[in-house]
Assembly symmetry: D2
Homo-oligomer: 386 residues x 4
């Protein structure tokens, strides 16, 4: 494999999405044989204490409190934008002008006009650009795309997507930035509905027309910390207006003749992050649900009579995009985290001078059970354990 | 947070489990505020080319081809053993004698005698030790443990566990080391049944007695590469004897009076890695399935009449052990990998000088849809997209 | 219980719905202690051979080939209308004028005007009337209604309903009456969408406004038998126009402020009869799916932190409406049919003079296994069976 | 179809199973074109009041309080035995001697000796005989049998069956006859385990050997009504010994080399009647669960790589045994009960002189929504409802 060529990254922003992106830079080359390797050069944020902690925790080499300084640096090839939505345009355009490749969180901007100016800037400056519609990249979704492109589903008749959350249902949940139009552009629509419509464009095609309705169920909320934090609590003596939608529903027609239904809401109790879709085509159907992201359900109308039914496919095999880089089939993505937790306990035991579990005592006891099983099988009798 | 105290790790072995452990050292402090930080000092393996590649890919500082040299090094605090089962005892005892903390893959050893000598060694030398029963550390399993300890399930009546795989069902699958008793100790029993019985001990308690049967359905296989590789293909002109079990079933009684049923097999088609259990107690029941590892199903007999039923709990909230370190509720463990794949595509675009997708063009198109939705909702009419 | 008062029924029509209604009259008093008992007096249809066979198979006392004669009879208290949609109005109005109680299949009529004339007729004549929105009467749906009325879900935010079928996806499926607007009024909309909107009105409340789109994917079909048969095959040399919708999607607002999304289609491959809905309210959520009609999924946001999740409730207990009249909990509706099949086999054996299975030979063999289990448990050893 | 030849039935017993069998006689010819038709001549039971009510409710022509009188009658062709287990042998032998065909509930008898005498009696007298292992007759199970016989699964490696109930977990549940060995023979074993082992014999083949363990978790219970009632409550001041098993687990080997695991228990909270099994063969796997009895899950290892997964098959199509006699595909068995409930409401309205719902008012309102949908689709705009 040898030493890889480095691409030097500067990240603007450091919260939820900053963590997700930082993790990706850290682990990319651990799993994948990418020709480049990311060097996590600098992270920036206005709150020095917070950005400094993020820098250390996430493994960045340095930090800045002014994003412009990041863009001005010569030792940066890529600008990664994970700030609130209203700042994307200014940062991206500046980064493009500075000749940096750009990756930004979605939605791209607050308005089409802003978005078009951003696109013009990257095109003018000849830099590479991506927008983080990450759900496209679940192995099951990539595999769905392949099935569609290979004609396995045939002409598409229906797309139906729900993106359901419930984290702001409590009327005391505070007026965070995600609930202010001037910062976030919209509510459920831009935050989660944007993912559904991007998946629709990815898998079905371009929209032809649509009709929609939006609703804000809780119109005033306590003014709290204007952070992106999802679990903050507000102060009910000081109320402010919610200026974005709590929920949006729309029906659409695609250019290829398919019908689409969409629903994005933060008021669907019990659905923490239910991002799901179903596609019905002339030859088959496909279903996916982020809460079981490794699975894809696929139906083929050409299957033998009597044996037609949705197949529950665990997309963890070599043939499933990206999956081969991870663990053996059936060891779903996320399996690796059980080891992190175990090592966490191990290191705590070493540091705190206590003996963590499971340990060699368990090893001995387990071995006694294993041996009893083998002895029982051999001697065909019950074996007692001491 | 500040600079952490380092614990210096040497790993013996580098394949499937080596990758899982390496990942844990890499990412532990990214997610968790552990007082220690692992320094990935050295990895060892007999095949120099392979271990060198593992060293680079997984991020170890150096490599060795003789595990004894790792143990002899003064700059190593922890020995992590991920070699085939028959080597665990010798390495662990040597590591203990050298005063190293030890973490080893399961099963601990090939025999109870070996296991007891290993335990004696770590106890004599006062080192910390762990055995990698990683499934204990899934947040849902940890939460199940808490519910049981809090008395929420009451007296336990039943434990039933299946660990079902299907990766060796093809008779042409070769005679890898996992199918030779002298290397692996046993087959399905030690490899996967060991996890089930450890979970039983963790959640239910110690065994009292058991009776078992084992079977080898395919008794001869082509002699292939004696590696741990799970997808190798053999040569049918040169057959060797399978000396371990393909499947084991047993029933047991626990010291607390519960009944247990166990089944571990590599011949359960369609079950890639189906590690699941159900517990029935006097006040409730618990179900878990590794293929949906973020979920826990919990039943309480004390729930209101008419509303009794298994609750499907997505263990991704602050209150669920380890889960708070990751993503917002409902964003299951594994969510972060979608970003790795996206960044993989981004860097390939930069390296290969092509424009990856989704990009700002998608951002603009998506923004047009978002704007159309808002306009439609406002004007209460269909909006066409160009 | 004693001899019940009879209510004398005349049925107009005899196909799919005729069978479902006939079964209900037959079995009502078997399960329920209804104060009345239906006497199945007469069934009518234009095709004498077919209606005669229906009369015999379904257990009606007589038949007619002219529905007017049924209505004219003095010995009829109830008229049950299961004919195609375009005939409902004429029959119902005549029946009302004749002073008969009326039950009719849905949709009530082809137009609002027709429907209003029907309503006026029953009201003028003081007869009882029902429309067969049978899904309201699934125990799980009745229980959902009760939970909502008891305030357990609180203010309702969302209703989403899909009614998905796939029986006409084959372009060679013929132009049956259900595909002609003059007979059926509409396609997926009136046939299945009507059920979804009725369930919405039952569980959420009245509509305020809506916007919709409809599509006919296959615009011409072979002209075949103009029956209601669902499996007929057409002749492709003689094509006719499909004049109803294959699919409809709409979004709505309810008077109580809830948002609704609806989709009814016959082009959703793999969904044979997927009639499902989800309701999200301020205190909880409810999900139901006809394909698992005995189950109800219920979520309460007031459940203890960490233990919040959808409960899968098998609505087969005394407390669930109608369920107590059937079998013990967990023996779902439909359980009884396994006995019909067994008795079918038994009677065929008697008639055909062969010995059906399972029989006393199986009884003996099973008993030997039972005895072996008991002996094994007692003697704690393996028992061989001969 | 014409007038059918009658077979005259006398039933001994009238409780839970009496109801299930009576229903089958009533409805057999409604659904199936069986060459015979059952005449429900006489039902018998010792409690005159109860048996008289059963006679009326279930539609028997007469009743007896002494079963011997039923057997002595010349106008009876078939004896159907649904009494407690300890009476099966005496009744069946007497019926066989009287030349009656016999159908009996399971288990056949209390002992192998009894069972063999019963078999000898039916064989000597040349009568037809069946034992009611009704689960064999679920369409999905019959279809599973067909797949196995057609070689679609290949050599069978594994059978695993759970039959889990929870109806006696409350220690105050009384000492009903099912808990007394002298009446029922055994507990969970004979009551529900018997079904699992019969399904195993039906689908896998004969047993070779087995080893088992049994447990009675609650050893004393209040002496209550010694009926078969499943919901009785006992008197805790008067306790008696439970003499049957609460739970049994066993592992087995079949003559064809397959391994089997079995668990039958009445102490599995949340599992009301969880009768399920999984079969793993060399070419595929099959799963079934009575709580979703219309579904069968089938896996084929020969499916295309990447698209392998369990198919969820709704066994409601013509090709699925027995299913064609019912409703269109996807309208699961049990669908018909929604109509019974609706008719129940209708007749109550007529009797009680109130107007039941849904009625023509709903019909009109629904029609207005349907019309609004059509108008909205046509005019492409929101439509208000009054």
């Amino acid at each position: 494999m040898g030493v890889k060529q480095k691409v030097r990254v500067g990240m603007i922003g450091y919260q939820f999405m900053g963590k997700a992106h930082s993790h990706a830079y850290r682990d990319l080359n651990f799993y994948f044989d990418n020709p480049l390797e990311a060097e996590m050069v600098v992270i920036s944020g206005r709150n020095e204490e917070a950005v400094k902690e993020a820098q250390e925790t996430m493994g960045w080499q340095s930090y800045e409190t002014d994003w412009r300084k990041v863009i001005e640096r010569d030792d940066i090839d890529v600008i990664d934008i994970v700030t609130p939505n209203h700042t994307h345009a200014e940062i991206a355009i500046a980064a493009a002008e500075a000749g940096k490749h750009i990756i930004t969180e979605k939605p791209l901007a607050l308005t089409v006009d802003e978005a078009e100016r951003m696109l013009a800037a990257v095109e003018k400056n000849g830099v590479k650009h991506m927008i983080c519609h990450n759900y496209r990249f679940a192995p099951a979704v990539q595999y769905a795309k392949k099935l569609i492109e290979d004609g396995r589903i045939g002409r598409i008749y229906h797309w139906r997507a729900n993106y359901l959350q419930d984290f702001i249902m409590d009327p005391n949940f505070p007026l965070v930035w995600r609930l202010k139009k001037e910062v976030s552009g919209s509510g459920a629509l831009g935050d989660i509905g944007a993912h559904s419509l991007d998946l629709a464009r990815f898998l079905v095609g371009e929209f032809s027309e649509l009709t929609a309705t939006m609703e804000t169920f809780i119109k005033e909320r306590p003014i709290g910390e204007m952070t992106g934090g999802l679990s903050a609590k507000g102060d009910s003596s000081n109320m402010g207006e919610v200026t974005v939608d709590d929920a949006v529903t729309f029906i659409a027609r695609f250019k290829n003749g398919a019908l689409g239904t969409f629903e994005a809401t933060r008021f669907a109790g019990g659905n923490r992050n239910k991002n799901k879709f179903e596609i019905n085509g002339e030859k088959g159907s496909i279903r996916w649900d982020m809460e079981n992201m490794n699975n894809l359900e696929v139906y083929f109308s050409g299957d033998e009579e009597g044996l037609q039914g949705f197949r529950l496919i665990n997309c963890t095999e070599e043939v499933h995009p990206y999956a081969g880089a991870y663990w053996p089939p059936g060891h779903i993505i996320g399996y690796e985290h059980t080891f992190i937790h175990l090592i966490d306990e191990f290191l705590r035991g070493i540091h705190g001078n206590y003996q963590p579990s499971p340990n060699f005592v368990d090893g001995v006891r387990n071995q006694k059970v294993l041996e009893a099983v083998e002895k029982s099988a051999e001697e065909k009798r019950w074996i007692e354990l001491d």
